[in-house]
Amino acid sequence: MNKESNDQTCCQDLDDRRSFYARLSMILSGVIGALIVLPGIGFVLAPIFKKTEQKWRTLGKVDAFKEGATVLVNFEDPSPEKWAGVTAKTAAWLRRVDDAKFIAFSINCRHLGCPVRWEEGPELFMCPCHGGVYYKDGTVAGGPPPEPLDRYQVRVRDGNVEIHTAAVPLTTTLTFDKS
């Protein structure tokens, strides 16, 4: 008899309690999930929102560069991690236009980012991937690139050529309607 009434007590309030337990467990599981995942999401997404402070890097003495010549220079990213090793380096094509004027072209092709090469004879930048070609001023001469080569800022200071670091030039499609 006693046992039976125990069963009845249990089953009478079962529906209410069960729905409460179920809801409580679902909500708490959500809280546990959020507590675990949110810091991680923040950690992983942080680089998107971090603005790197760009820096001036010295490339060498002005006299080391011949007038009219285009040469490959490399320099260090603005804030390399200590473990970045060789990947902290970036390159640019530097041309000494005249006594005081320098132009630095990004080595990234504007099509899909492959490294363009300066070819002395034809005076063209050429890309090995999909055949993008640029004139010596960086404008597109042929192939698929939609935009001219990007340029870095360069300045001469105390007899040294300095280049201003920059993010990888991205060809974005925010200009949808223009095409």
Binding site: I48, T52, A84, E119, C129, G131, A167, T173
Partner: protein, 484 residues
């Protein structure tokens, strides 16, 4: 002794319930007519097991950082005992997995196995297929040689074309605004934790669904799928003619998987792992970035497209391709399964396969790329030992004409062959074309002086078809194989 073993096993079996819970799945009844058609799914799983086993070994020596990654791979390849074999197995295992997953997908598509009630089997399979492609891409990148680093740039640039959030995706991929210390570690985490996790979960679900809905029969013209009656009919037929999966059907899977693993190990032992490219220095511009073979077709698509269509392909092939495949069974889940009643399906498979082969060959040859390593023309081809024609013959090399133009088997293939140009264009036309450029040809007005231009044109006017000699075509073949 034997009795003791039996008793021990009985004890374990009683506790974990192998005979009770697992055997019904392992020995469930399957159609007997499929025979060798159905070995590709299990072979893909076997290839995945090869990847997990070898991948864990590689992870014990691989250092995912800056220049250490490259050095550790050199150590694995050149010094570590069995290192070259394990790396080779991982590389050929990747090729096997991509190949087998595609064959599996094509077979299931041709037999329309994705129809009721196996829609979700297909949909989980499509997700797995794309994750496998993701594994293939990130794996190539983890080689972290020049090719690996430049693959990151290409992925970044492609992602940046996404409307509105493109640059955010790119910076997410790079782990910053440039390739640096945070780049490789991210791709390592995708390749080693995130995507394998997705594959484990996906394969688990995929297999669960396989057991739940049963192995499909071979398509039969007389048995179109009708969701209202399919299940009863399927079970009734199975009762009559089915066989237990283990071992009556499974032995073929095991035989084929043995062959697959045998080929993987043999390739690794005989051919060795793919050679490492130059060091991962982003300042090294003498890289010639190129994906692994399974993406050459896409590499070719990106070169051959008119720029105005490009955006739609960069985003369309991966995104639309996924959506179309993923939702396919929701649009077509009943009716005929037999290929003979589905001519469009057969046509699509043939067209896709033909495009894949043609584009892969193009992707390998890259005729659109300037041939940087082109040799100078020998005097015998120039046809003069001095004078303007001779100097013109030297200038077409030094001024870069031959990067893109072929002359008697020497030179690139981006632009038209100039071997007979003397018959095709007049002197004036040549001068105009060289000065102004044309479709995809740069203007050379500023990089040639008038004497140089005259010499080049003098030389080109002598380019007429040589009707006496036939050896030039052999020559052309020799040089077509040389990739810069």
């Amino acid at each position: 002794m034997k009795q003791q073993l039996q008793a021990t096993w009985d004890w374990i079996d009683n506790r974990i319930g192998f005979t009770e819970c697992m055997m019904p799945y392992i020995a469930h009844t399957v159609p007997r007519d499929a025979r060798w058609w159905y070995v590709f799914g299990s072979a893909t799983l076997t290839a995945f097991i090869v990847q997990v086993a070898t991948g864990i070994c590689l992870a014990m020596a691989y250092v995912p950082g800056g220049d250490e990654a490259y050095e550790s791979l050199k150590y694995i390849t050149d010094e570590a005992q069995f290192g070259s074999l394990v790396r080779g197995m991982h590389a050929y295992g990747a090729s096997a997995m991509v190949t087998l997953v595609v064959i599996h997908l094509v077979q299931v598509y041709l037999h329309a196995t994705y129809k009721y009630p196996r829609e979700l089997n297909w949909m989980t399979g499509v997700v797995l297929f794309f994750v496998v492609l993701g594994m293939a891409f990130t794996g190539q990148l983890l080689r972290w040689d020049a090719n690996g680093v430049w693959s990151v740039f290409v992925a970044t640039e492609m992602a940046s074309r996404t409307p509105y959030i493109g640059p955010m995706i790119s910076h997410f991929l790079l782990g910053g605004e440039t390739v640096g210390g945070s780049t490789l570690t991210r791709f390592f985490a995708y390749h080693v934790f995130i995507m394998p996790g997705m594959i484990f979960a996906g394969v688990g679900l995929h297999l669960f669904l396989l057991f739940r809905h049963g192995v499909s029969e071979m398509p039969n013209v007389d048995q179109p799928v009708d969701p209202a009656t399919y299940k009863e009919e399927y079970e009734a037929r199975l009762k009559k003619t089915g066989v237990p999966f283990w071992p009556n059907a499974m032995w073929r899977d095991v035989v084929f998987s043995t062959l697959v693993v045998g080929v993987i190990v043999a390739c690794a032992a005989i051919l060795g792992p793919p050679a490492l490219d130059a060091s991962p220095d982003p300042a090294n511009i003498h890289a010639d970035p190129m994906p692994d073979w399974y993406f050459w077709w896409y590499f070719a698509v990106l070169s051959l497209l008119p720029p105005s269509y490009e955006l739609w392909f960069i985003l369309g092939v991966p995104v639309l391709g996924f959506l179309v495949l993923f939702f396919l069974p929701l649009f077509s889940n009943k009716g005929h399964r037999a290929p003979s009643k589905r001519p469009w399906a057969v046509g699509i498979v043939i067209a896709a396969f033909a495009s894949f082969v043609v584009l892969t060959v193009y992707g390998y040859r890259e005729p659109w790329s300037p041939d940087f390593g082109v040799e100078e023309l020998p005097t015998s081809v120039i046809g003069a030992e001095q004078g303007p024609v001779f100097e013109g013959g030297k200038l077409v090399h030094s001024k870069g004409c031959m990067y893109c133009h072929d002359i008697n088997g020497y030179g690139g293939h981006r632009g038209p062959d100039l071997s007979n140009i003397g018959e095709q264009l007049t002197r004036d036309d040549l001068i105009i074309r060289i000065n102004n450029g044309g479709y995809n040809m740069p203007s050379f007005a500023s990089s040639l002086n008038s004497q140089e231009l005259t010499k080049i044109v003098d030389f080109l006017m002598t380019r007429v078809e040589d009707r006496t000699e036939s050896s030039t075509s052999d020559n052309a073949k020799d040089h077509a194989d040389d990739r810069g």
